[in-house]
Symmetry: C2
Subunit: 216 residues, 2 copies
């Protein structure tokens, strides 16, 4: 058991060092040598846990995606309208990407790899699929316009969020992620929400946008 705990601690140290380097200098520039040096470990210790740099990237994508997806799911309350859960959940995601460095590195790796890494690809697919269900529910609840097609609507929302993450990271070092998400929702709401629900959701969005970040 002691050996297992030590092995797990080593694995953790490798992931944390890789995550820090990915957030500081980017994945391409973060060499395995730099990661070992930062973790104060040997090459052997690293290769015991990860076959390659990409295997390490996959572990980070999986852990980061799990954090993001589970916090998005937990943000939804069963009694609340689906569209409230979607908007609230999206802000919880910005909080997670801001405070959780594994999730932040995972988001960078998602857009670095895209189709070239199965974990990255399946995370994007899961995001679109789960949001499609929420959008369909919100249409059935009468909050969203009846003419909307849930799949493309969800894909458009995920695209806007993924693009906002890229722009915020590239142009503001991630500092304005929450306000970019808020402005994207402001832009989208009149296209999504029925005229009857628009006033309510504008107010809901305004309250969400100024709400202090939740600490997961």
């Amino acid at each position: 058991m002691v050996r297992q705990a030590r092995s797990e601690a080593t694995r953790r140290k490798i992931i944390d060092s890789a995550v820090d380097l990915i957030n500081e200098i980017g994945y391409p520039a973060a060499g395995l040598g730099d990661i070992i040096e930062r973790a104060e470990l040997t090459k052997g210790a690293l290769y015991y846990h990860f076959d390659s740099k990409e295997a390490l990237a996959t572990a980070i994508i999986e852990e980061g995606s799990e954090t993001v997806l589970s916090s998005f799911r937990q943000a939804g309350r069963s009694g609340s309208p689906a569209m409230e859960n979607v908007i609230h959940g999206s802000f919880v995601v910005t909080d997670v990407l801001t405070v959780d460095r594994v999730a932040r590195a995972g988001a960078r790796l998602l857009r670095t790899f895209g189709s070239f890494n199965p974990a990255a690809k399946s995370t994007l697919q899961i995001l679109v699929d789960e949001l499609t269900e929420h959008i369909a529910k919100a249409i059935a609840e009468g909050d969203l316009r009846a003419g909307l097609d849930p799949g493309p609507t969800a894909a458009g929302i995920v695209a806007g969020m993924a693009g906002a993450e890229l722009l915020s990271s590239a142009l503001a070092n991630g500092a304005d992620l929450r306000s970019r998400f808020a402005k994207n929702w402001e832009l989208l709401l009149p296209a999504l929400v029925t005229d009857e629900s628009l006033g309510y959701y504008r107010e809901f969005l305004a309250r969400q946008a100024v709400r202090p970040p939740t600490t997961p």
Copy 2:
């Protein structure tokens, strides 16, 4: 002159080999060794032209961005309404990303590097800035809703496009980029365009979405 032409041909061969590998297996997996092998050149020839793998990435980002930006600019006709130029220009960008492999690799590198590469960062900034001007013009022309703020509106549109490029690349190997852009515009139009112009722009979009791709 002969020597200069030969040197330029070598540089071209290196870039083209790197571009193909980036499109086939992704930037992280494309090692300098693989690039040299595909180009049938020596390490010395590569290092004569590029200091590092990132210097090569920068050259691809610069060339790809130049192609995308200049085709977006050329798509606009001075007599046309700004919003027509924006929509038409966005579809010309999807065409360029589909047929031009340097531009396609450049787009992948934009989202791989983000803030970590000055060329990637400045391309994203230029896209947002130029689109902001078009949006301001379209508001002044009365096609877009007067309450829109040009900067965040442009940032939201660029985010949606960048995210659509990622999703299309990750989930459909880029094959559905044009239809993703079309669906994003369909979603956004009612939020952007005034009630008076909405019918016209829906028709304009429908014609653009089925227009055969322009070959640059």
